[in-house]
Symmetry: C2
Subunit: 192 residues, 2 copies
């Protein structure tokens, strides 16, 4: 590995984090190298920096492209492929969330819906379906929240996150103004 120490630490950390996910250690390292690079890099640049085989880099870049985490760029008067990560970290987060949703959440929702259509053949299966129903509802709610929020411009998203729990105060207020006392399952118990 042929990197300045500060960058090397970063790259090694992302290699470890990568393998804690589903992605191979060296693929995580490739991503890290691209993320901190001053300009788009060729596959051979990455070979030089990480000291892994050319074919491994080729496959790793393909995987990163399938995640839309790196984009292919071209330099004038150079027919090699160059690669870079988006400049905007928020953009990276959005892509990560979308891709993980597509690969993990959507197939799970699909399986759950399919299984919820079947008729349970026993009390055991009936109970299992009830559990799946609970899970389905939670995932659906989180998914629809995400569908809403992903549309926001980054500026707004930041605003929303910064607000954090203060949003809840708006909800509190709304409750106090509009909810008829006694209509909820249990009496409100305001703090302090």
């Amino acid at each position: 590995m042929n990197l300045p120490p500060l960058i090397q630490s970063f790259v090694l950390h992302f290699g470890e984090m990568g393998s804690r996910w589903g992605i191979a250690r060296t693929v995580g390292q490739m991503y890290a190298v691209l993320f901190v690079a001053e300009r788009p890099l060729s596959a051979d640049d990455i070979v030089d920096r990480l000291g892994v085989s050319r074919s491994n880099v080729s496959m790793g870049l393909k995987e990163l492209q399938s995640w839309r985490l790196v984009r292919l760029r071209h330099q004038p008067d150079d027919r090699r492929d160059f690669f870079s990560t988006p400049d905007d970290v928020w953009q990276i987060v959005r892509i990560l969330v979308e891709e993980r949703k597509k690969r993990e959440i959507d197939p799970t929702l699909s399986v759950l819906r399919e299984l919820l259509m079947l008729s349970p053949a026993s009390e055991e299966e009936r109970h299992a379906q009830a559990r799946m129903q609970d899970m389905h509802e939670v995932i659906e709610l989180m998914t629809s929240w995400h569908a809403d929020v992903e549309k926001l411009e980054t500026e707004r998203l930041i605003q929303l996150l910064t607000l954090g729990s203060k949003v809840v105060k708006v909800l509190d207020l709304k409750d106090r103004l509009f909810v008829v006392p006694g209509r909820g399952a249990k009496a409100a118990t305001p703090k302090a």
Copy 2:
């Protein structure tokens, strides 16, 4: 594998999802079995249902306990250990988010902060630090949002998620009322 078909499909799916994460296929299956079970199960119950070795179940349950995803229970007049998942799916989601934060986000923040303290020895390192700084800011903001939101009662959390992008309308309104026109980076361009 000795399970009713509906449950078996669910279990197999979670095995696959598990291995897409960092957890072993059989550990994902163990979790799925426990999730849909009508009552707490002993390790041997899981051996019967999944057909894996007793020692594998023992290790898998240990891992699931380290994630706080299953809890150990005892039945009166039985000295075997029984295991179950929380009844409340929201509770499960909270635990998952907390544990992943602890294992992935916190160490990353710690590495980033450490590297941001160092003096860059070159322009390349200086640029890398700037990128790390960007990443650090984004993660910090998401983390502080999470710290706020995790404190909410489940009822409130659901309210917040249900509201989704409607919250943004509140932000919009707030902007229109309080932001001096021209102070932002670019002029507001209200839709429609």
